[in-house]
């Protein structure tokens, strides 16, 4: 299936449209919330919450016998929330640290959920089938009604973020200051966590509990590379989430036997990789290039200085030297490269005998460099070959 066909299918095909829309909404919401999670260094909170939601989903079904999204979401919300409270009790009341508490809640809750789910599957209740789609998500099962529910929940979450924008911002960057200002930090902390759980709930059908964690880290980690401003970051993060969500969902729906959750995860991870490598300023590639350029500049300056010193010692700054003599300053091809670059700058010249020397402007440049470092100038060897040591 080519790209054009796929695009036209999104408009005409009912299932595909729902899938793309749903995954897009999920991406926007989780992208926005992941911003706060990543900035607050709680990237793995979403991981824990999404796993902890599983027993809530299964219990909600066992208690109500219903599979409507709203009921299951409520169950997930309660279980996820209980998980957060437990983590906070364990870390604040005992010496067990955050990472252990988080991992413990994550795995134990999930194990309990799996235990309930397996038990349920053995009970021969026809209506339970399909609950296990919440493990890895099954986007194809999404209908228009689900999309409407997701949209509603998504708008509610985003509206709350907008209303408490200032508070969440302060909480993310300086919670201690917020506390001294009299902000109810703990209440906002709980509010933000609740919103993250809500995002997890949104992602249940789409990517499933197992891989939802990625959607709560990756979009923000990617967006962080492009900007230093929270406002821009949250928009970018949502955008990345939406692109990866909708893109991944479409790819998996139009390819046979390609599970939705993992596909979306690979899409968002690709965006992260590109951002890490190529984002302006913070991109690793640019940083590497910058480093190379700086090193070349540094070597040029060093060579210029050394040639000046040696020439000065031998009587005249304009003295020329054979290449072999300069090898003591710099090894191998680095020397040739630096000399060539200095020649390009007009600071050095190569005479007919193959000897290198400073040009008058090169002498001026070398003296300018040395003047920036008065001690180096003072240590300049005197013409009679004796070093003038600086005293004190």
């Amino acid at each position: 299936m080519d790209v054009f066909q796929t695009l036209s299918l999104i408009v005409t095909d009912y299932t595909l449209r729902n899938v793309a829309l749903g995954a897009g909404i999920l991406g926007i919401v989780s992208g926005a919330l992941s911003t706060f999670a990543v900035l607050r260094k709680q990237s793995l909170l979403g991981d824990a919450m999404s796993h902890a939601a599983l027993p809530g989903v299964v219990l909600a079904f066992i208690i109500t016998g219903q599979k409507t999204p709203l009921v299951l979401m409520l169950g997930a919300l309660i279980a996820g929330w209980l998980g957060v409270v437990l983590v906070s009790v364990i870390t604040s009341q005992t010496r067990v640290k955050y990472d252990s508490a988080l991992g413990l809640v994550l795995a134990v809750f999930f194990g309990f959920g799996m235990m309930l789910l397996t038990w349920l599957q053995g009970q021969n209740i026809a209506s339970q089938s399909g609950l296990d789609q919440y493990l890895f998500g099954r986007a194809a099962a999404i209908v228009e009604h689900d999309v409407q529910t997701m949209a509603l929940l998504g708008v509610a979450v985003l509206a709350l973020v907008a209303v408490f924008w200032k508070e969440f911002k302060l909480l993310s960057f300086n919670p201690d200051y917020a506390a001294t200002l009299g902000f109810p930090v703990r209440a906002f902390d709980i509010a933000l966590t609740t919103l993250i759980v809500a995002a997890v709930v949104l992602g249940l059908q789409m990517v499933g509990v197992v891989l939802m964690s990625a959607m709560l880290v990756a979009p923000a980690a990617a967006a962080r590379q492009w900007t230093d401003r929270l406002g821009v970051m949250i928009v970018l993060s949502s955008l990345f989430g939406a692109v990866a969500g909708a893109g991944g969902a479409i790819i998996s729906s139009t390819t046979t036997r390609l599970p939705t959750g993992p596909t979306i995860v690979l899409c968002i991870s690709a965006i992260v990789l590109i951002s890490l490598l190529f984002a302006p300023n913070r991109g690793i590639v640019w940083a590497w290039l910058r480093q190379q350029r700086n090193r070349a500049e540094l070597q040029k300056a060093m060579l210029l200085e050394k040639v000046y010193q040696v020439s000065y010692l031998e009587g005249s700054p304009l003295q020329t030297h054979p290449l072999e003599e300069l090898r003591t300053f710099m090894r191998g091809s680095q020397l040739e490269r630096a000399l060539e670059a200095l020649k390009q700058d007009g600071y050095m010249h190569l005479d007919e005998d193959g000897r290198w020397g400073l040009t008058p402007s090169g002498v001026a440049q070398a003296e300018a460099i040395l003047r920036e470092r008065p001690r180096a100038l003072a240590r300049r060897p005197s013409p009679d070959g004796l070093r003038q040591e600086v005293v004190g």
């Binding site: 252990s100 991992g103 994550l106 999930f110 309930l116 993992p262 995860v265």
Partner: protein, 367 residues
Amino acid sequence: MNPRLEIVTIAAFVAAACALPGTFLVLRRVALMSDAISHSILPGIVIGFFLVGDRSHPLVIAGAALSGVLAVTLTEGLLKTRRVDKDAAIGLVFPVLFSIGVILITRYASGVHLDVDAVLLGELAFAPFNRATYFGLDLPVGIWVMGAILLLNVIAILLFYKELKLATFDPGLAAALGFAPTLIHYGLMTLVSVTAVGAFDHVGSILVVALMIAPPAAAYLLTNSLSRMLVISVVLGVLAAFGGYLVASWIDTSIAGAMATMSGVIFMITLLFAPEQGLIARKRLSRKRRERFAVEMLLVHLSRHENTATEAAENAMPHLTGELNWSPEFAGATVERAGQQGLIEKHGDQLRLTPKGRATAERVLMR
């Protein structure tokens, strides 16, 4: 051995093998690495399975463990770019590897002894069907594999006990003494990977984490000694395995899920009732402190006003509630307690220090 006993044995081996490296994960504050590793071994297992066709083959186990170590390396490489923080680095790497594993299974291995349910839960109940004979003993492969991994963990920890202990509690000193912290770290991560791979067949990808963290975290609340913590972790892990097996056969559900649940239950019981670190003990301790402090406050108050003009008014029962801001019940209880300890005497409404009470008040003031 009957199949039930064999299953319980494997479960106990898995729990014990997980608890040993888990103890160090919990103490070194890298517990979530177990989460990352247990997810990341999946592609290694799947690819190894394609190549060799037998998940218990030592080569497959080694290869899969390597993909766990790869996840650690990638995470730390990502951290070293200083573009993301530690949790984000973990959270970015393992979902990718896990996703690749799931995609490989759904596309190429669906239904051939490796499906998504097995990834999440393992197949402990079927373990007795897969048998092998070594040293003239016909036992399930699971017992051989997990027994070997348990043995490996025990030997590795015994051999490098001193190094692990020092690197855990004083990494700076360990480095200064030339113990190569990186080597110890990667050694530990390799143990975790191998254990996770072995346990994968029986309890799946995610529940390993419960067995690696919950028993050591509970043991952490019970002792201050590393050697005792290791032993207690293993005992609690094995208890969780037995308990999980009983619960699973009682209500007919997955043994792995029940094991993880039981490890959580054991942690919760410890959290509440641990003799020193437990929530109840801490609550009781803080109440005891408050009570002792209140008695001392009372003694000091009485001694300040003893033999002054206002003694009659100050050192009377009703005055305490206003002066020390105590509720009448608390004031009554405190006076009662001080009386029982022979520190004060009651004369009607008036409170008088006994010689012992006076001495205590002076000691408190000198403190």
